[in-house]
């Protein structure tokens, strides 16, 4: 046996191989970069910078789509879009770790306080609507529509309905199987706020952060019910049935169609999606340009089906543009005393809400 130096050299070779592997990959990645810079410097934008975005995983696809279209025009700008949830997003936002926070619900009083304490001022821009869909199995032939009160019976409290019969005596004597998004998601928060008010949701639901699991769960059991963003319903419309929800104001059941969500008729389950932009970051050319691009394109993207959300109605979007143009900071949904305002989104999202401060 010749146990001399070669093995050591071999180790070095393997290590080197690893390094070279890394290096070569690096050069191949930087090659397209160099190309794009060359072609772009002639005519296209020389805008550079880093934009950090985090927040709702529901809004993430929109921001990602906008990002993609944006960097096609401004290849020098690097944009990171995270999707750690609305709450986590706000935490990063008032920790000054992000420029823009995606949110599937308005900022909460506690979060606002922390932002104010940290000196983070922001503009609150509604960008699109999402319809929260309550879905049942296609074989379910007894549920024709649901009211908010019935949903409360199903979803809220320790003594929530165990069987369909408990909700409506004419419905079958079978156990209800419930599928819900995880407690960290904005979808869960929003549903809880509408249905449960200040109470607790029931504890024996199947919770999952992966909405596809919810879809499969509802599709696989005749006696199940679940809720998720409308995108998951439209993509799986063949194996699910959306429940028409009785609009409390007009007192008639409404389906979560694009028109109904956009017109606000699908109440109270059409929710606005927001981006919160730090005022300090907005002074930077790249952030300014990006947000402008965002607002110019988001409605078109929704309308063309590039993202599975619903565009804001014209008057509400007008309001978004005004806030952006005037850089009016603050939130519409918390009053001067730090309490959440109650009411429909369209009524709160007006200039007076900010002026009152």
């Amino acid at each position: 046996m010749k146990f001399t130096r070669p093995p050591v050299a071999l180790i070095a070779m393997v290590a080197l191989g690893l390094l070279v592997g890394c290096d070569s990959s690096k050069t191949t990645t930087s090659a397209p970069t160099a190309d794009s810079v060359q072609t772009d410097s002639a005519s296209e934008s020389t805008l550079v910078g880093d934009i950090k975005i985090d927040g709702s995983s529901t809004v993430q696809p929109i921001s990602d789509a906008i990002r993609e279209a944006f960097i096609a025009q401004h290849p020098g700008v690097k944009i990171t879009v995270g999707g750690e949830g609305t709450g986590n997003g706000f935490k990063e936002f008032y920790g000054k770790a992000t420029d823009i926070s995606d949110a599937s619900r308005p900022i909460k009083p506690g979060e606002l306080e922390k932002a104010q304490a940290a000196g983070v001022k922001f503009v609150e821009l509604a960008v699109a609507y999402d319809g929260l869909t309550i879905a049942i199995n296609p074989d379910n032939d007894w549920v024709k529509s649901l009211t908010v009160e019935q949903l409360e019976k199903i979803f809220v409290g320790k003594d929530a309905a165990k069987k369909w019969k408990d909700v409506d005596p004419s419905w079958p004597d079978q156990e209800i199987k419930i599928f819900s998004p995880g407690t960290g998601s904005g979808t869960y928060d929003y549903f809880k706020e509408v249905v449960a008010d200040k109470q607790e949701m029931r504890g024996d639901m199947t919770l999952n952060e992966n909405d596809n699991v919810l879809v499969q769960g509802v599709a696989g059991n005749k006696f199940s019910i679940g809720f998720f963003g409308v995108a998951y319903y439209t993509q799986n419309a063949s194996i699910l049935k959306a429940v028409p929800i009785v609009n409390p104001e007009i007192n008639e059941p409404v389906l979560p169609t694009t028109e109904n969500i956009a017109s606000g008729k699908y109440a109270p389950f059409s929710r606005p999606l927001f981006i919160y932009v730090s005022e300090e970051s907005l002074a930077r050319a790249e952030v300014q340009t990006f947000v402008e691009f965002y607002l110019e394109n988001v409605s078109t993207f929704c309308a063309e089906g590039k993202v599975d959300y619903v565009q804001l109605p014209g008057d509400l979007f007008e309001r978004t543009m005004t806030i952006f143009d005037d850089v009016t900071t603050g939130t519409h949904f918390i009053d001067a005393d730090g309490n959440s305002r109650e009411g429909a989104f369209a009524e709160l999202y007006v200039a007076e809400s900010l002026d009152a401060k």
């Binding site: 093995p7 890394c22 550079v48 789509a65 993609e68 990171t80 879009v81 999707g83």
Partner: protein, 430 residues
């Protein structure tokens, strides 16, 4: 065991007895019973043996069947997306059908490389200490036992716990070095960065960079001519235009060097690839180091095992010839254990490539990235995180992409493993 030939003998005996003296009732009955019993006994044992053999085959093939079913179903689901787009492109939200995973392949390899560079020397070093340099001193012996115990425990810790550890230690560094914030340079930027203000020029979409002198000042208002730099880094004098001084200059070249009076510039940090800063933040370096922690116990244990397998007589011979402990380790133990160490290392690196949980905790769930990391502090997308995200999407296209991406991940893993097998073979045949 020992009575087997006896029984054989006896039954042979009995057979001959039965043939010769069939009329003798008592002894033949006795012998017969013995023989029948022995035969059935042997039959039972043999059939049991055969049963057990087939049970083992069934169990062994079950795992293969599961793997095959998995591969076939994934292959079936993902084959429509196994195109060159998948390799060449990056994640696309606008055209899901053209989505690809190139940045994530690069990202995974780089992250895995970092973890290997960190964990291999550390892990092999620790194992050598534990196996080759067993201390005689009582205090050191206690330490030795303590380390040994802890490593065994660490190997069983779920990887997500390492993710949380990495988040505190590498991403935030206990906030000792302050936090990484937007609009503000971090306090501990050691090298590889230049700070500028970015100002829009009069030409739409074109900007001018102004070197930043005072880092605490995050914005600049330009009201008099100052020095800026152009795209190639050459300094030039910025010209100022305002409405009072007449119409905007018509010439593109002039417009490129002119800004509006009172234009505001925000801060911009230009980073070289070796940009280094503390804390690491949500960077690929932090992800690599975290994965290094995840695979460290695996490497230590594998190395220990292969060092233990080196025959003590080799070591004793070396020591007997007067070699020191270090010489013995370097010239005898390590070379003999090398194949085992390499196998352990490659298994560990394979694990590092496949881990999603710690990376998700450390880096978050951002997946849209067009390139691999461009500097040490850049974010990164890895294959498992991308697959995790795609698999959770409502669109069918992303589901298929996820399956296809899994195939690519498996191919990368297999390629890594086969390199390891080849290297090991080379070393062994030496």
């Amino acid at each position: 065991m020992s009575d087997m030939p006896n029984a054989e003998e006896r039954s042979g005996d009995a057979r001959s007895q039965r043939k010769s003296k069939p009329a003798d009732p008592l002894p033949s009955a006795l012998v017969d019973r013995d023989q029948v019993q022995a035969r059935s006994n042997a039959q039972k044992r043999k059939s049991f043996d055969r049963m057990f053999f087939w049970l083992c085959v069934a169990i062994a093939s079950l795992s293969v069947v599961v793997l095959v079913v998995l591969l076939v179903s994934i292959g079936f689901q993902g084959q429509s997306r196994l195109t060159s787009d998948l390799i060449n492109n990056s994640h696309s939200e606008l055209e899901p059908a053209k989505s690809g995973m190139w940045p994530s392949i690069i990202g995974s390899l780089l992250v895995c490389g970092i973890s290997g560079l960190v964990a291999l020397p550390l892990g092999i070093g620790t194992a050598i200490f534990l196996e080759e340099f067993k201390p005689a001193n009582k205090l050191l012996r206690t330490l030795h036992g303590f380390i040994q115990l802890n490593i065994a425990n660490l190997a069983g810790v779920p990887s997500i716990v390492f993710g949380l550890l990495g988040l505190t230690v590498f991403v935030y560094m206990f906030n000792v070095f302050g936090q990484i914030q937007v609009n503000r340079p971090s306090d501990w930027e050691l090298f590889g960065v230049n700070h500028y203000y970015q100002v829009l020029s009069l030409e739409p979409g074109q900007t001018i960079l102004v070197p930043q002198q005072d880092q605490s000042q995050t914005t600049i208002k330009i009201s008099e001519p100052i020095e800026g730099i152009d795209n190639d880094g050459n300094p030039f004098q910025i010209e100022i235009w305002d409405r009072a001084s007449g119409p905007k200059p018509a010439d593109r070249e002039t417009r490129l060097k002119t800004v509006k009076k009172g234009a505001v510039g925000g801060s911009y940090s230009k980073r070289s690839w070796y940009y280094f800063r503390l804390p690491f933040g949500k960077s690929f370096l932090a992800a690599g180091l975290t994965l290094g922690l995840v695979i460290l116990p695996v490497i230590i244990i594998a190395t220990q095992e292969s060092l233990r397998a080196v025959s003590p007589s080799l070591r004793e011979a070396s020591l007997g010839l007067g070699a020191t402990q270090w010489q013995t380790t370097r010239n005898i133990s390590l070379p003999a254990a090398l194949p085992g160490i390499l196998t352990g290392a490659i298994l560990a690196l394979g694990r590092a490539i496949g881990e999603a949980a710690p990376v998700l905790v450390v880096l978050g769930a951002a997946i849209a990235k067009n390139r691999g990391p461009e500097n040490l502090m850049d974010s990164v997308v890895t294959m498992p995180v991308l697959i995790f995200n795609w698999a959770g999407r409502p669109q069918d296209v992303y589901q298929q992409l996820a399956a296809a991406a899994i195939i690519v991940l498996l191919v990368v893993l297999l390629a890594l493993n086969s390199v390891a097998i080849y290297v090991r073979h080379k070393v062994q045949s030496r």
